[in-house]
Structures are given as C-alpha cells and as structure tokens.
C-alpha cells in the first residue's frame, strides 16, 4: 500500500467513527416512538417515556381555550383512550372529532402531559371525498 493510501484509509476510518458517534448521539436525543393510542395503552414498555401518540380527539370531556393556551381532552383509539392535558398554542384545525398527534409523557395518575399538539389533516393534498364541510369552529367566537 502506498503512503497516500494509508493516509486515505486512516482519514476514512476517522470520518466513519466520527459519523457513527454523532449519529448515535443524535439518535439517543432524537429517537421517539410514534404510536397509536391503543398500542401505547396495551404495551407497558413505553408508559413512562416520552412518546408521540396519534388518535382522535373525543367529543365528550373536551375543553380548549385558545386564549388561555391549554386544552384537555380524551385521545381515543379504537378500543382505548387516554386523558391528555396540553399547554401551548392550539393549532387552528384542532377540534373534537379530528385526528391529532401529541407528544409528551404520562404521569403516575395516567394523564398524558403534552407539549406538542399537531393536527393531522388526513390528506393535505387530497380533498375529503363527499364529506360535508364541517361547521366553522370559530363562528360563534368571531370578532364582531
């Protein structure tokens, strides 16, 4: 092997090692489970760690205050549901009956404290076929 090749190999190894270290460190920090509510409730393993959950916002026990920046609701799956308390800006499309994604952690009492709330438009580019437009959620609250 020529001198340059040895150097090249050395440089390659250093870069590979550095990338791996960075990627693993980044993965530890950026790793998060993204689960449907049912799967989260069924498996015990994720209960106390930070996760992303998706489900449907329940119609009953739905409280949201856009000006006070908090919302409390049941996040429902097909078979189970979990109580969510969220603090922060409420996305415009957030309302009961819609699909949302929340990120946060469960406390001992079984309440999920979320700091991220994303509304999930089933398909952003595809129109909702044959669906009647929903009532304006702001209609009653609109400024005069």
């Amino acid at each position: 092997m020529t001198h340059t090749r040895v150097k090249l190999l050395g440089a390659g190894l250093v870069i590979a090692a550095a990338t791996t270290i960075l990627a693993v460190a980044g993965m530890r920090e950026g790793w998060v489970y993204f689960l449907p509510v049912d799967q989260f409730m069924a498996s015990g393993q994720h209960q106390m760690q930070r996760v992303r959950l998706h489900g449907t916002v329940g119609e009953e026990r739905f409280e949201a205050s856009r000006a006070d920046l908090n919302a409390k609701f049941d996040l429902k799956g097909k078979t189970s549901s979990i109580r969510v308390e969220y603090t922060g800006v409420i996305p415009e499309m957030f309302q009961a009956g819609h699909d949302v994604v929340v990120e946060g952690q469960c406390d001992e009492a079984g309440v999920f404290h979320a700091d991220t709330l994303l509304t999930k438009c089933a398909s952003k580019y595809e129109s909702a076929d044959g669906q009647a437009p929903h009532a304006n959620p702001y209609a009653a609250e609109s400024a005069e």
């Binding site: 990627a23 920046l69 009532a135």
Partner: protein, 687 residues
C-alpha cells in the same frame, strides 16, 4: 371531448415511447452509419412524444380554466371564486396533475436533450434516447392507469368545486412545484447518457461534457425549488421555522446532495481522469433518489405532513425504481474495468483530495438523511414498530458536516491539482486565517460566546475571505498585465472563467445560508402573550401593544385580523396585522397569515395564536428570528452561481480571449471540451 383527447394523447405517448425504444435499439444495432436514419427517427419520435404529453397537459389546463367540474380533478382542486393564478397552479395541486406536470416537463427536457445531442452518433446516444423514452413512457403509463387526471364523475357533476387547499393558496405554490419537478425530471438526462455510455463501453471522459450542463441545470432548479419550499413553509405554516426534516423535504434534499457531490467530482474526472466509477454511481444514484423520494412520499409507506393519498401508484414507482436500480448497478459492475482511473490519488492535500473530501461529506449527509427518513421502516424490520427520529438526529450529524464543507470551500480554491499543492496552501491561507482571528474575536467580545455560533463565524469568515482574496489576486494580476480599468477587469476576469467564478459565487451563497441557518436556529426567541385590547407587553428589543381584532373579507375567504403595534428600541413604530383566514370552501381548515417583517439582521414574525369572547382577549405569538433573510439571499446567490457556470465559456470573447490566451496557465483551468468554443474564438480573431 377533453377527456377523450387527453386520454388518447397519453395512450399515443405510450405507443410513441415504445416506438422510440425500437428505433433507438435499431440505431444502436445497425451502427453509426447504417443506423443514422433510425437515430434521426428516434429523435423525431421523442419530439412527437413531447407533443402528445403537451396536448394532454393542455387538455387538463383547459378543463381547469373553463371550470369543467365534470372532472373530479377540477372539482377537487378549484372553485369558481378561485383567483386565476391559483386555478392555473391547480394543475399541480394534486397527485394526478403534479405527475402530469412532471411528465410534461420531462418530455420537454427530453426534447431539448435530444436536440442538444443531435451531432452525436453511435450507440451511446441511441441507447440514451431509448432510456429517455422508457422513463417518459413510464410516466404516461401511470397517468393512464394509476393516477388518471381525466377521471370524471359518474353521476351529475357538482355546480362548484371544492377549491384549492388554503395552504396552497400562496404565490410560492405557483413557482415552487414546477422548479422542483424540473430538477427531478432533468436528472433523467444524465442517467440516460450514462446508461448509453456504459452499454457502448466507456472510452474517454468526453461524455461528461454532454451531461455536465444537464446536471448543473437540474441542480439549480432543484436547489431553487428546495429554498423556495423552505421559504413557503416559513411564511405559510406559521410555526416560525423553514425546515422540519419532514420526509418530503428530505426526499428533495437527497438528490440535491448527491448532485452537488457529482458537480464537483466530474471536474476531477474531466481534469485528471479519476473517480470514474464514483461519478457513474452518483449519476445513477441522483436519478434513483428522485424516484425514491417520489415513491416514499406518494405510496404512503412513510407518514408525512405532505401526505398524498396512498394508492397503487406506490407499486408502480417501486417496481420501476427496482428495475432502474438493477439496470444501473448491473451496468456499473459489468463495466467496472473500463471505469478504472487513469492515475491513483497521489496526494490527499490537493484539489482532487479536497473534492474527494467534499464528496465524502456530502455522501455522509445524504446517508444520514436517508437513514433518518426511512427510520420507521428500519425500526419495523428490527421489531421496534413506530419508532421515528426527530430533528436532533439530523442536526447532530449534518451541522458539523456542513461546517467542514464550508472549510473545504475555503481551502479548495487555493489548492492546485497534484502533489505540489500542500506546500502552497499555508501561504495562501495566511490572510484568511488572520481575518478569522479578527472577526471571531470581535464576535466573541461583542456578541456571543456560543461555541457553535463562533465556529460558524470562524469557518464562514475563512471561506468568504479566501474566495474574495482569490478574486482580488487574479484581479490585480489581470490589471497589471492588461492595464484595464476596474470595471473592465472585473467583467473580463469573470468572463474568462465562468465555471470558476460561478462556483465561487455558489459557495458564497451556501455560506450565507449557513450563517442564516446558524443565526436563526441558535438565537431564535419566541414569546407568547395573553392580552386584552390596549394591553402592552415586552419582547426583547420591542414593546408591543395589542390594539384589537377586526373582521375582514377577501375574495374567497373571511378573516380575523389582529392589530399589534410594535415599537423597537429606536422608537420606530409599526402595526403588525397577523390574520387567521377562513376560506369559504374550507371552513374547517383555518389558515394563519403571518405578519412578517424582515431586515438584514432579524425577522419579526407575529402570529395570532388564538382568541376568545369576540376578541376580548387574545394570544399573540411573537418570534424574533435573527438572520433568516440571509437564507433566501444565499439561495438566490447560489442559483446565480449555478447560472454563471451554465453560461457559454466566454460571452465577451473578442477581448477576453486574447487576454486569456496570454495568461492562462496550462492544465488547471483548461477545459476538456474546448473544441467548439476555441474554434469559434479563433475564427473571430482571424475575422
């Protein structure tokens, strides 16, 4: 009638594509002389292919512009009240239309490519025509069978359409998708030529000059599309950011990274005959990543905010992707001996060494982005269903790589090819190093102690100063030797070497983007204020007063508008008016309109986060994002740099040529394809 013409033209396109393949294979089999009429025939067939796809696109456009709601596509994406510009842009608002746009752009670019290659003869170009026809044919097939834009309602058509999704009703919607698709489609040309060259058996490096412009062209459009998309996200989505490492964003970044690497490594092949296998792989990979990105985002295998509806389309794309991958890998492996380098890598500290390092960094960035994007799939394979990675994963790896890349931009231009480079570099970097000490020291004392920020400042200073110094040196050398004035010397110097100075300009653009990204991601401040009308709040450097809410009415929406008076530290007052819009046909999807003011130093980004009781109280979110404007300026500069590289060798040659002939040093700046330009230049001199 419209649907008949549309579908018939698509069907005709499929048949013509098949005929093109036959004609091209005939041309390849009969050889350069006997096959010449066949080759000419395949060129005409590509031209008629472009005509048929154009007719199909024109039909959909006609249906859109005449509000022909018998078509499900027209009803799904437009309404009568939609402004004309958006009705036009609805052509690419949905799955079917955007694929039709892609197919149309592809067919037009194929036409341009075959015309550009019309002087070429032989197997290479014949096979290239066949590959172009196969890709065009693939798009025509999916438009006919998997995503037909001419679908009609079975029953009576609706009286009015559903309208364009509010988030798409933005100026960027008109520009961003065509830019991106032009980039994607353009990378088909290099791939086609690569397949042709590999089948014919690579003899020299000349074929690179037939595809360099295509790579550059597509790279420019893709880059412009990505930056435009980031800008769109920034002003439209209202979360204060411009890049979220979303799968669709990543999908466009992947081919951009590989094509950036390719633009650099083909220079080494052109000048030194090295990196042949690597270049062939990058040409193929860039094309395949364009397909891959489309596959993962349109098949529903990966969740994205851009989700298109899952459909059969995924299967089509997957099969085509696998076939093309097998073709590329097979050909490169088969021809590996003919792709051997002319010489080994002689020295690491040399221009080719810097190009190699840059390629390695860009490839790592691409791999990390790829792994992150398909992480949910990888997780599934090892039994961790539902696992995803978020931004920190990407940032951790990509940010240091980007900083190293800027470092290479600093040393690359001052390095020569070959073994002698190492000695000169220390001398050439003296002044930039001094600039780094001064600027970084100044930043540390006056602005911030943040290590990342200082690192970025240092590396960008090094890069900028070595680019500028390089220019100043050549500039003063030129003035000494020619005695030209300042303006003439600048213009002529740049004109003598568009590729070099275009590249430098693109580097400056990237450095501006790095500064913008660093500034906004490290020092962004965000505050949320719950206020009643008349109430005052403090944001660092600003005093805000909430004046109240009003209802306003636009052409196809009504909106609630907040008025917030912002006074900066110098006493300058303005009123920001963020809105929440309710589009008539999309009441369930209110849309934020950000009140944004940009300056060189920082953006103030105000959104109306919520309100209650008819405006008795409201929540106002204020973000102060430093240096964001530099990202957009950097994007424009980067694309301008690409444009410079695309220019013919010399625009103002009569004078410039004589001067260049005097001072051009051998080897380094010598073009590989000078045949045309110098012969033209010579005839001009003799004339």
């Amino acid at each position: 009638m419209i649907e008949l013409i549309g579908n018939l033209s698509l069907a005709a396109a499929v048949l013509v594509a098949a005929a093109t393949v036959i004609a091209s294979i005939g041309a390849a089999a009969l050889g350069p002389v006997a096959g010449a009429p066949w080759l000419r025939g395949s060129r005409w067939l590509v031209a008629s292919l472009a005509v048929f796809v154009t007719v199909a696109a024109a039909m959909l456009l006609t249906a859109l512009m005449t509000h022909d709601f018998r078509f499900t596509y027209v009803a799904a994406y437009t309404e009568r009240a939609l402004p004309v510009g958006f009705t036009f842009a609805a052509l690419w608002a949905g799955q079917e239309g955007s694929l039709l746009l892609w197919a149309w752009l592809l067919s037009m670019l194929c036409l341009m490519a075959t015309m550009g290659w019309r002087r070429l003869v032989g197997t290479e170009v014949a096979v290239a025509h066949a590959v172009l026809a196969v890709v065009c044919g693939f798009f025509a097939v999916i438009l006919l069978f998997a995503a037909n834009p001419f679908q009609m309602f079975d029953g009576p058509p609706p009286l009015d359409g559903r309208g364009l999704n509010p988030q798409l009703q933005d100026l960027a919607m008109i520009i961003h998708p065509p830019l991106l698709f032009t980039g994607y489609a353009g990378f088909t040309m290099p791939f086609a030529m690569l397949v042709g060259v590999l089948i014919a058996g690579p003899r020299d490096n000349r074929w690179l000059s037939h595809i360099r412009r295509w790579i550059l062209f597509s790279w420019m459009f893709l880059g412009a599309g990505i930056v435009m998309g980031a800008w769109w996200a920034y002003i439209e989505l209202g979360w204060g950011g411009y890049w979220a490492w979303d799968p669709v964003e990543n999908a466009s970044l992947l081919p951009w990274l590989t094509s950036t690497a390719l633009l650099h490594s083909i220079v080494v092949q052109q000048h030194r005959g090295m990196f042949r296998i690597w270049n062939a792989s990058l040409v193929a990979l860039t094309f395949l990543l364009c397909l891959f990105g489309t596959y993962i985002t349109r098949s529903g295998v990966i969740d994205s905010v851009h989700a298109f509806a899952a459909s059969l389309l995924g299967v089509f794309f997957l099969v085509f992707l696998l076939l093309m991958t097998a073709l590329a890998v097979g050909l490169i492996v088969w021809r590996r001996r003919k792709l051997a380098p002319d010489r080994p890598l002689e020295a690491l500290v040399s221009r080719e060494g810097a190009f190699l390092a840059g390629n390695v960094l860009l490839t790592i960035m691409m791999l990390v982005t790829l792994v992150g994007t398909i992480f949910p799939l990888l997780g599934q394979l090892v039994g961790h269903e539902g696992v995803t990675v978020k931004a920190p994963f990407y940032n951790r790896v990509v940010a240091p790589m980007a900083i190293l890349l800027v470092g290479l931009m600093a040393v690359g231009p001052v390095l020569a090819f070959g073994v002698q480079a190492a000695r000169k570099i220390a001398v050439n970097l003296r002044i930039p190093a001094a600039a780094v000490v001064v600027v970084t020291g100044g930043t540390l004392l006056l602005l911030t102690g943040n290590v990342w920020a200082l690192l970025c400042v240092a590396i960008v200073t090094l890069g900028t100063s070595s680019v500028l110094l390089d220019f100043v040196k050549s500039f003063s050398a030129r003035r000494r030797s020619t005695g030209e004035g300042v303006l003439a010397a600048t213009v002529n110097l740049i004109d003598t070497n568009h590729r070099r100075y275009g590249g430098q300009l693109a580097h400056l653009g990237v450095m501006m983007i790095v500064i913008g990204v660093a500034g906004s991601s490290l020092f962004s401040r965000e505050t949320l204020h719950r206020v009643v009308p008349g109430q005052t709040f403090e944001v660092d450097g600003y005093r805000g007063t909430f004046l109240g809410l009003t209802d306003i009415r636009g052409s196809n929406y009504s909106a609630v508008q907040a008025s917030v008076e912002l006074t900066d530290s110098s006493g300058d007052t303005r009123v920001a008016t963020p809105e929440v819009r309710f589009y008539d046909t999309w009441p369930e999807q209110p849309n934020t309109e950000v009140a944004l003011r940009s300056t060189w130093l920082e953006d103030t980004y105000v959104t109306l986060a919520g309100w209650e009781g008819g405006g008795r109280n409201a929540a106002i979110q204020v973000r102060v994002n430093p240096l964001v404007l530099w990202i957009w300026i950097g994007g424009i500069v980067m694309v301008a740099g690409g444009l410079f590289c695309l220019l013919p060798r010399q625009l103002l040659w009569p004078r410039a040529v004589t001067a260049t002939a005097l001072r051009r040093s051998p080897a380094v700046d010598r073009p590989v394809e000078p045949v045309v330009s110098t012969s033209v230049a010579n005839s001009e001199i003799t004339a």
